[in-house]
């Protein structure tokens, strides 16, 4: 056992050389390679993370787009639905209007036909009644229809109630016009005198009386003073006949009234 200092010195130098050699050929290259690998792994991880982040962002973007498209789709569908509802309503309204127009046209036509029919009927009935009355009266007592009408009128004037008399009297005081006796036929002088006398005795004493002829009265006679009027007219009976005929057409009239209320 002993220490050879020359060997010691040589070994120190050898060791230092070995340190340098291993540093040069072992530690540095290995550490560099490991560092590079670590860096590469870190880079790959970072890259993966970035890609994942980008993928996540892309997914988010697509989700946003999908949501936007869904919203847009809902809006479009809502608009289409609204438009369809409006169009449906419009079509229904148009159809209803068209039906209403057709029905109104039909009702108007029916009403006109009814009016026309009633007018014709009235004239025919009046003429028929007049002819029948003439014939009947001639056969019964050789009396004229007009004379009979005037007599009937005179009787009515004589039996006139107090209220009507007061009304006519008041009308005569309010106006300066003369009392007018209107008839559809010509009244002879004798009958005129009878009429004057009855009026002066039962209605208004001393009032001026004018006689006139008018075709407005269908077949009758009337006394007019101011706004007051009193008379007998076959048209009254015909009006009653009209009323009855109209009552017979009541279903048509009721349909027309329902349609008017609907409008």
């Amino acid at each position: 056992m002993g220490i050879d200092w020359i060997t010691v010195s040589a070994q120190i130098i050898n060791f230092l050389i070995l340190v340098w050699l291993l540093k040069r050929f072992l530690y540095q290259p290995v550490m560099r390679a490991m560092g590079c690998r670590e860096q590469r792994i870190i880079d790959q991880l970072n890259e993966t993370q970035e890609r994942e982040q980008k993928a996540e962002e892309t997914v988010q973007q697509y989700l946003e787009k999908t949501r936007a498209l869904e919203r847009e789709c809902e809006i479009i569908l809502a608009r289409a639905h609204e438009r369809a509802v409006q169009q449906k309503k419009q079509l229904i309204d148009d159809a209803r209007k068209e039906v209403a127009e057709i029905r109104e046209h039909w009702l108007r036509q029916a009403y006109q036909e009814k009016e026309e029919f009633l007018g014709n009927l009235r004239h025919q009935v009046a003429n028929s009644i007049q002819k029948i009355a003439h014939t009947a009266l001639k056969e019964l007592g050789n009396a004229q229809l007009e004379t009979q009408i005037i007599h009937l009128f005179i009787d009515r004037l004589a039996a006139l109630d107090q209220e009507s008399r007061t009304l006519l009297l008041k009308e005569s005081e309010d106006t300066s016009e003369p009392l007018r006796v209107t008839s559809t036929f010509l009244i002879d002088a004798e009958l005129r005198d009878q009429i004057k006398r009855v009026i002066h005795e039962n209605l208004i004493k001393g009032i001026e009386i004018e006689f006139s002829q008018s075709s407005e009265l269908l077949c009758g006679i009337a006394v007019t003073v101011g706004a007051g009027q009193l008379g007998w007219n076959l048209a009254d009976y015909l009006n009653q006949l009209d009323q009855r005929v109209e009552d017979a057409f009541a279903p048509v009239a009721s349909v027309a009234s329902i349609e008017k209320s609907r409008e």
């Binding site: 020359i6 040589a10 060791f15 072992l26 290995v30 390679a33 590469r40």
Partner: protein, 231 residues
């Protein structure tokens, strides 16, 4: 029987002689350098690496982790010195299996040289870490009376380092030599195997102790820094 490789001289010129210690040291150096060069000339930084590269990476990473664990510092600047200590001693001891080879670590000259290297490296690392004044102040702490004891401690631990390695390796060789004369064939082989284990353990102990000494020289700086910061 010669158990001291210093005594085996291959060539001599005056006082300078090429003995077995130096020759086998060169062999170990050549072997380490050659393997390192062969493996590291085609290093791959990718994921596909060769087995040899994997081996070297495992060795280097293991040494780094040990240094980091002991010193609690970044191992970069200590790796060449401590790592070379470990690799040199380990390979030198492992080659003991080869017939005719004599481990240079079985020479007190080699272990002394290595211990001197540690003896010099400790203050160098300490000074490099915290500066000369701060480092040398350690020797007069807690009082200047401790200066001789600290110096004796430094020298004695260096001697212990050298003698421990030398004693263990040399004793292994001696034991095998004695057993060969007493019970040849089988039992010496077992002792050789035990010698491999002992050799690896001694390499580990030497490197770890060197690192502990260096770490104690540099950790003073760190703890002082910590105290200063706390104040």
């Amino acid at each position: 029987m010669t158990i001291n490789p210093d005594a085996i001289v291959f060539w001599q010129w005056g006082r300078v002689s090429l003995n077995a210690t130096i020759a086998y040291t060169w062999l170990v150096m050549a072997l380490l350098t050659l393997i390192s060069w062969l493996v590291t000339r085609n290093l791959s930084s990718g994921t596909g690496i060769s087995r040899w590269q994997n081996l070297l990476e495992v060795v280097v990473t293991g040494i780094r982790d040990q240094i980091k664990e002991v010193s609690q510092q970044q191992p970069g600047k200590y790796l060449p010195f401590v790592g070379t200590l470990f690799l040199f001693i380990a390979v030198a001891n492992l080659l003991n299996m080869v017939p005719g080879y004599m481990a240079p670590t079985g020479s007190l000259s080699t272990t002394t040289a290595l211990a001197i290297c540690v003896f010099v490296a400790v203050p160098l690392y300490g000074i490099a870490s915290e500066g000369p004044i701060s480092y040398f102040k350690r020797y007069v702490k807690p009082t200047i009376l401790m200066l001789p004891f600290n110096i004796i401690g430094e020298i004695s631990r260096t001697i212990a380092l050298a003698v421990r390695l030398y004693g263990n390796i040399m004793s292994g060789t001696v034991i095998v030599a004695i057993l060969l004369s007493l019970t040849p064939y089988f039992f010496p082989i077992v002792m050789q195997l035990l010698g491999l284990l002992t050799g690896m353990i001694q390499a580990y102990i030497f490197a770890i102790l060197a690192m502990v000494y260096i770490a104690s020289a540099t950790s003073v700086h760190t703890s002082n820094d910590g105290q200063r910061r706390n104040k």
